[in-house]
Amino acid sequence: MRALVSITVNGSVRDLDVPEEASLLSVLREDLDLTGTRFGCGQGICGACYVLVDGEAHPACRLRVEDVAGKDVATIEGLARDGELHPVQRAFLEEDAMQCGYCTSGMIVSAVALLRASPNPGDEEIRAALAPHLCRCGIYLRAVRAVRRAAGRTA
């Protein structure tokens, strides 16, 4: 069975004709060539595949395209505006809050959602927002510092 659905991704309407069982993650990566959203487990546990759906952070591997019909989906590729990095992206860069980079897209997406909802979060709140994003390289301290830095700018 196919899903014939229009979804809005990074501000553009995309008309899709994809297998209905395909996850949003698979569609973003394979059908829309938006590969910045990463596959880590396919079970919603590792956090690598988070996207924004109407401003809220969700694992794309747990969504089907029909779940986001009529909603605004934003991926890591859609965060920069007019060639300017989002403050969260800039902060991650400045804190070197990365090593292999595989978990970074997901973390940045959740941080963007956090700062929209809560512009001045304390450390506990930052840690909780980033908790779904597992990192094996061990950049948690830097990621928390990066979000703190970004909050300082956007507040």
């Binding site: 590792c46 990095l85 980079g101 094996r136 061990g138």
Partner: protein, 657 residues
Amino acid sequence: MTAPAPGSEPKPERVETRIAVARDGTVLAFSGKVEYGQGIRTGFARIVAEELHVSIDRVRVELGDTDTAPWDMGTFGSMSTAVDGAALRKAAIFAHALLLERASERLGVETAQLHSEHGIVCAADGRRVTFTELTQKNALTGEVTALPGGRGVRGPATDVTLRLEALEIVTGARRYPADVRLPGLVYGAVLHGPRIDARPESIQENSARAMPGVLAVVRDGDFCGVVAERQEQALAAIAAMHAAWRAPQQAAGAPTDLTLYARDGVDRALAGAARVHEAAYHVPHIAHAAMCPSVAVADVRDVAADLYVATQRPFGLRDEVAQALGMAIESVHIHPQAMGGMFGRGGMNDAPLEAARLSRVVGRPVRVQWTREEEFRLSPARPIVDVTIRAGLDASGRIVAWRSSSRTNPFTYGGAGDSRVLAMTSGRNAVAAYSVEAMEVMLHVQPAAIRTGAFRSLAAAPNIFAIESFMDELAAQCGQDPISFRLRHLDDPRLARVLELVHRRSRWGERERDGRALGVACAVYHGTYVAQIAEIRVPSPGSVRFERAWCAVDAGRLVHPDGARNQIEGGIQHAASCAMFEELTIADGGVATATLRDYPIAATVDAPAEIDVAFVDDPAIASTGIGEPGFVPTAAALANAIFAATGKRLRDLPLSI
């Protein structure tokens, strides 16, 4: 570009294998190492930029591509900066001298009167010639000799060079193997049994061939895979198949016993000791569990095979693919992509070989992406390590005898290897760095029930967990401060210095007054000296919080200080996760752990609030490795802190009270 003959002296390098100037003035630097987050690309770029007097954005570092890089044994062992960085520095200094020589001929001015900046060689009278002009008609060539001078890299205290991949990473533009797109790319999956070496007795394909999107079912002996138009379709087709599996026929191999260190008189010294203490430590199998599961793209045609992969051993993989496909080595091209953290997993090239086999049959580029469940079930695990230590103390609390035995599995891929290799891998850091008159260290290596292999620092972290926990136990036996006790038994001033550094920075001396539970551990790993102190808290019975850590590191001269700091912080957080939470479940001769839910790893809420890293950064000492040392002492530091907090001595990992 072939492997050196075994036992041969390293041949002098030719500058053209390391440095070239492109038409547009870009300086190209080549290394067979690969980048997986350690920051070596950035470090290498800094080295080359410094020695050629150009800005870092003029340098392009090409890593690990078997078509362009010099042969390399693989990226592991914290050797990239120490060994390859040194080779690049030497080649860059030589290249610069060669450029000045050429400019000297061109301009008719002595080299001593010339200087270069930003890729332009200038004479005092204002005449100039660019690197491009000097190399356009003939590339730099020649056998590299060691030349004096060179600027060296002095990392200032405020080092702000971003890692070169940073922008790609934060924008999502970075391309890992799963992101490679080739015309005609299709998706493959392999029918796997309960173990990587399980053999199918019979395979029922059932409806697989006829399922939506399936392009081929590939059968070749025990190998059975599917190629389909979409990933989900390949997985569904595999799920529709059924096979009966039998375990491998013979046992994996005989055990090996080695004496790593023996100095006479241990029995006599133990018999005469005022106090004897013994303890046994256990470290279970754990998983690499990197965030990027195994994945590879292979494009095999008649005349050539191109692989787009994540691997720690691109040249090894080239040989393996050539052998598996019956192709000449020259026809196989390995193109390392951006990679997820490797931690040793990338020495075993499972997905690339599977992709190559499938691509060869279907004649199209194939991507094989392992599921997370396959990654747990089939990947090599870190060996079990069991260490028993028996030591004798004299009346003054000095260690007079030490006998230890380390029992473990191979940390190498493809079997145990000879005893020198075993001592260096399964026996790494089994010999304590302390001066004890009578010491004996034994190693017993036997294959595990499951596949094992390399894991960050190999046997060092497990052995140091045992040794450094035991040192604290001995100190407690004779009522001595753990740091003073260690200092009493150290000859090496560099190890003493890092211990003293963390002592000071953590305010170790005031810990009891402040009510803080601190634990210390130290090690010398591949010439890098590292001391750590961990602070823990017990917020409620049965729970332990890792609050804070201090780490002092002497790795000689630093190349990229913030990159080094990131590696040490990362090693500590990684090690804390392994030590506090991780253990694979083994059942029926295989890994039963299937998901990240079964195998919790540390998340942000588990990370310490602060990690203080202090580097000795002595520019007079050649750089040693940074990738692994941070990982080595953490388990013991935590266990010792837990003892300080609770009086409970934990000798098994994962630590739980």
